[in-house]
């Protein structure tokens, strides 16, 4: 018997590696949703803190207070910010059939669909690694990947996210992230 314990809640699951900013971008998106009047839960799956090890984080966004305190098992959106993880984890695991899969990859959505046999919902690809290197000169690809997720789902406005990013990183870092976010929104491919 199918039971829905997340009614009215949009649930995200993030994949990345320790040190890539999974926790930060998850919180940043959560805070943007909060700024737009939502209730949120943004929490990581904590393990030993090892740089480079696969990590996950979870986000819940809802118009009403959120009562459930458990990991997300059937996300509406999965965001994978590290292209090399696609060989290690299956990002579609538990993803709702109508859900959205957002990946940092140079591949086209169709190639991703074929690789994981994901037929429903949306597949969103963005070459966030290239954007990060070209804009910031460093591998900070969490924000541009998040930007693709934001624009494809419309869960919050891109402007609110940019505002949160500028609050958190005033000055040059914030400005560069803003540029990277705007470029990712332009370049994201949905298929």
């Amino acid at each position: 018997m199918a039971m829905d314990f997340a009614r009215g809640i949009t649930e995200f699951r993030w994949h990345g590696r320790g040190g890539q900013g999974v926790v930060t971008s998850n919180q940043m998106l959560g805070k943007a949703a909060l700024a737009e009047g939502n209730y949120i839960q943004a929490f990581p799956e904590f393990g030993p803190e090892r740089t480079g090890a696969p990590v996950r984080a979870f986000l819940r966004i809802s118009k009403a207070p959120i009562q459930v305190y458990a990991q997300v098992y059937h996300p509406d959106v999965v965001v994978c910010i590290d292209p090399t993880l696609l060989e290690v984890v299956n990002p579609t695991e538990g993803l709702k059939p109508e859900g959205t899969l957002v990946l940092n990859t140079s591949n086209e959505p169709k190639a991703i669909r074929d690789k994981f046999g994901f037929k429903g919902g949306k597949v969103v690809t963005v070459d966030a690694s290239t954007i990060a290197m070209e804009v910031m000169g460093r591998a900070f690809y969490n924000m541009p990947t998040m930007a693709a997720a934001v624009s494809a789902t419309g869960i919050v406005s891109v402007d609110t996210v940019i505002e949160e990013v500028l609050n958190r990183y005033p000055g040059k870092v914030g400005a560069l992230n803003k540029t990277a976010i705007e470029r990712a929104v332009q370049e994201a491919k949905i298929g």
Binding site: M1, D4, L34, N38, V68
Partner: protein, 397 residues
Amino acid sequence: MSVSKDKIKIEGLTGDAAIAHALRQADLDVLSAYPITPQTIIVEDYQKFAADGEVNAAVIPVESEHSAMSACVGASAVGARVATASASAGLALMWEILYCAASMRMPIVFTVANRALSAPINIHNDHSDGMGMRDSGFIQLYCQSSQEAYDTTLMAFKLAEHHDVLLPVMVGIDGFIVSHNVERVEMLPDDAAKKFVGVRTPVQPLDPKNPITMGPLALTDYYFEFKEQQDRAMQQVIKVYKEVEAEFEKLTGRKYGIFETYKTNDADIIFLAMSSMGGTAKVVADVLREKGEKVGVIRLKMFRPFPTKELAKAIGNAKAVAVFEKAMSFGAATNPLALEVKTALYGTKSRPIIANFVVGLGGRDVPPMTFVEGFEKTKEYLKKGEAPLYETLGVRK
């Protein structure tokens, strides 16, 4: 007098950060602590406030938790408002001084991000640390959310320092599940929070001009009388908590109760759980209700003192209570929460069946389906007319 909406600050805060803000607004005199995951952010954030001159408290970094609680006792004895934070092994190292704090009637607020005890080393949530200290004489309040952690920390000072109480208070949040979970938190303006908490009026402070001795030797002659008084103070807690919360509700519109009841009025089966699990239980009850099952939830906030009579009344004529808890009392008849619930119900006429499910030890996730599993089992036990003393769920056997 309630605070107008435009003065309320809404922020995304982890449970730890929310507690740190409450401590900032409570205008402490002394905070003494030793870092331990998953509590560390509380003290880190508080030290930032201290370094930035936002608080006037003396922050005393010490070499161990035993010393942290000792410093708190000393500072509280001179009449200071005092707080500390810890978890797991750190809390265990405080053990000896926890009893001193309670017995010497020191109104210390002790925020805890509840975490498993070693071995093996585990940084994640369960209630082994809190249940281990349950007989120390601390009041214990377990919170579901970051908002409740903030609110309860503020209320804890008024409760602890009330002259009918004068006991230390533990405020617990689930390690990582709440301590590291960014949630929407409404904060009072600093002046309103400060005014609500008020200024501590010590009854009998240490004072060089009027020297007294505290916690002295009492053997067969007077030790028992100290314990008698301590017990009497505990008996006042529920009444005072209700007063404090009524005042807080006027200010904020929020209240939690010594426990929260959810759809219990006509319930056949009641889920009983503490902290974040209480939230999940409510969601499961909603779904089961849609399938025609009469399920309710009691989320227990106050474990010490245990609200025996109130709980028995709230359970009323329910046919069964399914107790979900995150601690084991090895070798006991059943586990800490279920033991108390059974005791509370022994003298009632209806005497419902009590199922006890130990779940989530060492941070094992407790998803909604674990409650559904417990519900199905409880239904079977109802048919049979008896339940096992306890069992574990969500573990490889």
